[in-house]
Symmetry: C2
Subunit: 288 residues, 2 copies
């Protein structure tokens, strides 16, 4: 959340696009996104000298649209996410390279560099808690950390209404959510894929589903006590801690990955006014 574009997605976008030839960069990259992936691809494209075109549904929050354009991407608005995906083939036929938000080994490996940094900072790590949208972040970080130390526990988190991985794990197959109802829009992959489901089955202890309210409460705890702005899709990892506590001991070294902070202040204020006015009481900063 403290990285360029306010989310982890630049890691995967850069790693994927570093593999493009000069000619491919000239022809350009196309991506579909209602959120952080668009900004990441646009940002990486600018950094690598590639053209970029984003297919974004017209209900995309204006702060996402503006940020994406500010990185130099051309934005094409579609009536729905489905229509945006439908357009991809047309651009691919014209020579544009499609950058998938998560179902791509290079994207997953890029997100996995967070695992590398966790291990560098805290080799004694025992538990890592990660958000799951499409599953690329969790899959990449888990693959890296488990290859170093299979004893590290990787926990996933989703919000109710955006729990495509939790449902897929329960069903043993991909489950199509329709529609995504959670406030954590950026968790809202309507379905995971074979690749990310397989990684989750192999590496994750469990996926914890929290409510929107719990994610928003945690967002305000992080804002008030740690002075950092997270989006619900990131703060849900803190919310999951309540349900995970029994798995931890005094010897646990638990890492929460706070993977994005792209929230409009207007949304923040709306959520605040919706909250019952209970006072948030907590120890000062979690980092202490």
């Amino acid at each position: 959340m403290l990285q360029p574009t306010g989310a982890f997605k630049v890691r995967g976008a850069f790693n994927r696009m570093l593999s493009l030839t000069k000619d491919q960069r000239r022809r350009g990259v196309v991506a579909v996104s209602g959120g952080n992936h668009a900004q990441a691809v646009a940002y990486a494209a600018r950094g690598l000298g590639a053209r970029s075109l984003m297919l974004m549904p017209e209900f995309t929050p204006v702060n996402y649209l503006e940020a994406t354009r500010s990185y130099g991407a051309e934005v094409v608005l579609t009536q729905s996410l489905a229509e945006a995906f439908h357009c991809v083939a047309k651009y691919e036929a014209m020579g544009w390279e499609y950058i998938h938000p998560f179902d791509d080994p290079l994207v997953i490996a890029g997100q996995g560099t967070i695992g590398l940094e966790i291990y560098d900072d805290l080799p004694e790590v025992t538990d890592v808690v990660l958000s799951i949208g499409g599953g690329g972040l969790a899959g990449g970080v888990a693959t890296y950390l488990k290859s170093l130390n299979p004893g590290i526990h990787i926990w996933g988190t989703e919000t109710a209404g955006a729990d495509s991985m939790s449902q897929a794990l329960a069903a043993g197959e991909i489950v199509q959510l329709s529609p995504v109802t959670s406030v954590a829009r950026t968790l809202g992959a309507p379905a995971v894929t074979d690749t990310t489901l397989a990684l989750a089955q192999r590496y994750l202890e469990e996926v914890i589903v929290v409510t929107d309210e719990e994610a928003i409460d945690s967002l305000f705890i992080l804002l008030n006590d740690c002075k950092i702005l997270t989006e619900p899709a990131a703060s849900c990892t803190l919310a999951a801690l309540d349900k995970l506590q029994l798995n931890f001991s005094r010897d646990s070294h638990v890492v929460l990955v706070l993977c994005g902070g792209n929230v409009a202040v207007e949304d923040l204020c709306q959520w605040r006014s919706d909250l019952p006015h209970t006072t948030v009481k907590l120890q000062p900063c979690l980092a202490n």
Copy 2:
């Protein structure tokens, strides 16, 4: 702003209170504050096993009161800041040790440790921009950095209505503000002191005064683009950059000290709704 209690004040409080004898800690410390100093003294007192009592005006924002109590301090509410200061002598007579928010060499030296960290991180630093409330932070950081390299420029920032240092520098003597009108309540020392004025005269290039609106605009830029929560008393350093730019060159290495993040979400939302709805346009994160 990322430190315990959400402000730099713990540095000065700890440094001052580490000099207390065991007997003094047992008798306790007393401080006057409508803001961050109370939290810092309470926090340091708990850490050092000292009793603490805070005299706070009853108009102190509830988030400050609650945070101060949460660190274990006893809070005595007074009708005004003046009455709070008036009470101090009574407690001193009873054996309590008074901890001044800034007019104390040990407090100033404690705040100055920020200078030490700046120099460790960025020995090529050319310019440092600091907020001025009573002047302890700027005085401490300037004393340290100037002793290492007199060529480093130190710039102060205040908001209009809380510009006690700017007015004192112009007048060549202490000027009593009454009342402090700025939204940057934590800059609101009604007057600087001989010690901090002398340090400012000796070490500061200039004190830039920005408006409340400019400080709040900068607060939202830092929140939106850098995902960090600052209070106006800290974000005013970013607002001052506009007026300072002519002093910088391509070879400048400019450090902004963001010294506090204690803002209630309610205030944030109030300020947002007061703002004209121009869209904040900026490069993503200042750190890039």
